[in-house]
Amino acid sequence: MENLKTIINTVLRNRGKQEVTEINENSHLRNDIGFDSLDLAELTVRIEAEYDIDIFEDGIVNTVGEVMQKINNN
């Protein structure tokens, strides 16, 4: 989770957006963290670089929990 938070904050920082201090399984990527499609696109690339999985391959995922699941299933 910590690692994912770091990646999420990198994306936020790159767009000049406010970084997050706390996230949990239910944190919604768009509604809570404030990602738009460009951020989601960058997120997929960074996660793929780190964990070798395209989290959106089978469709959009919405929460941190769902992202963790994709990563852990790999």
């Binding site: 920082r13 000049g16 460009l38 989601l40 696109a41 960058e42």
Partner: protein, 411 residues
Amino acid sequence: MDLFYSDISKNQKVTWDNLLDELNNLSEYNPYCYHQDFYLVFKHIILSLLLEREIIMLDSDFSEDEIQKLTRSTQLARNNININKKNRPAINSKNDLIDTINKVGQNWTITLFTSGTTGLPKKVNHTFHSITRFVKISEKNKSSVWGFAYNPTHMAGIQVFFQALLNGNPIIRLFGLSKDQIFDSIEKFEITNISATPTFYRLLLPAQGNFKSVNRITSGGEKFDEKIAEQLKKIFLNAKFTNVYASTEAGTLFAANGNSFFIKPEMHSFVQIQENELIIHRSLLGQSEFSVSEWYHTGDMVKIVSENPLQFQFVSRKNEMINVGGYKVSPGEVEETIRNLEGIQDVRVFAKSNSVLGNIICCEVVKTSDEIDELSIRSFLQSKLQEYKIPRIIKFTNKISITRTGKIKRI
């Protein structure tokens, strides 16, 4: 010594007498021109003209696989033809040679392949007339010394070759040489004319020195960069700058000062701009193996600067446009913007496919200052470009990838 060709990297010097000697003694001809050595390419073209036989230009770095696909020939050597020297009068002087070449008939064709950045290279045939359309023969041009900075098997290189050949000028290799070798050659041979891609010039910079002999710098093949021109003017103080538009399909069509191409009134009926794409009339083209409708879509996206007289600027190649979530991004525009940042030497913008947006913009950067990092580039771009154009992935590197014709690699 009347020099025909020289390559400083190989200590190679060929005089017109050497050339004539070799031409007069050749006993074999192969329509496929496939050589590493630029001199052999040039000699081959001249021979094809003297024999009035077709010549087919192949890149020296094509693999056997690629050649098989392009020529459908399993072994190039099988196409060798014996030629009887007795049937040909010997050529005794440079002027004799040039006169004979100028009289070549309609049957002579030269076949080129487009650079193939999108799929398999396309075959295009040209006649002597269409390939030499823009060649200017004059007394003034007789004393030019040409710096050869293109791939000799592609359109740009062949244009320079004919310009030099028909004016009897020496050709000095610059393409593929190191920066030092290039500047040495310019000084040693007192090169007067250089034609090259903006990428070639960009890779020469930064540079110091005063190369007084150069009186003409021509740029073609990619969008012209005002910033490069400014830097080049400091080392080539006596040079006039020209920008040229040419394609493998059409040969050279327009020239410009700076970025705006001016369409002469007599060309107006042969040029159209539709949905920002440059369209040209089929009569301007060489022969292509694909049937072309009356109007040929060049794939070049342009911006009209003025209607009367008609002037336009090149924006980017249509297929280079990157589709980011429906928004079209011109990699050239993003590159230009990034280059404006202090501390950036060079940059290459390209697409990476992405399951969210289709594509995202990435770039590799060569920096000259340690103060440059991802964040500084991003905050600079925030105020200059729309969000979707800003590269999502920024990598720092020592070298930018370029194609076999000396242009920035886009895919």
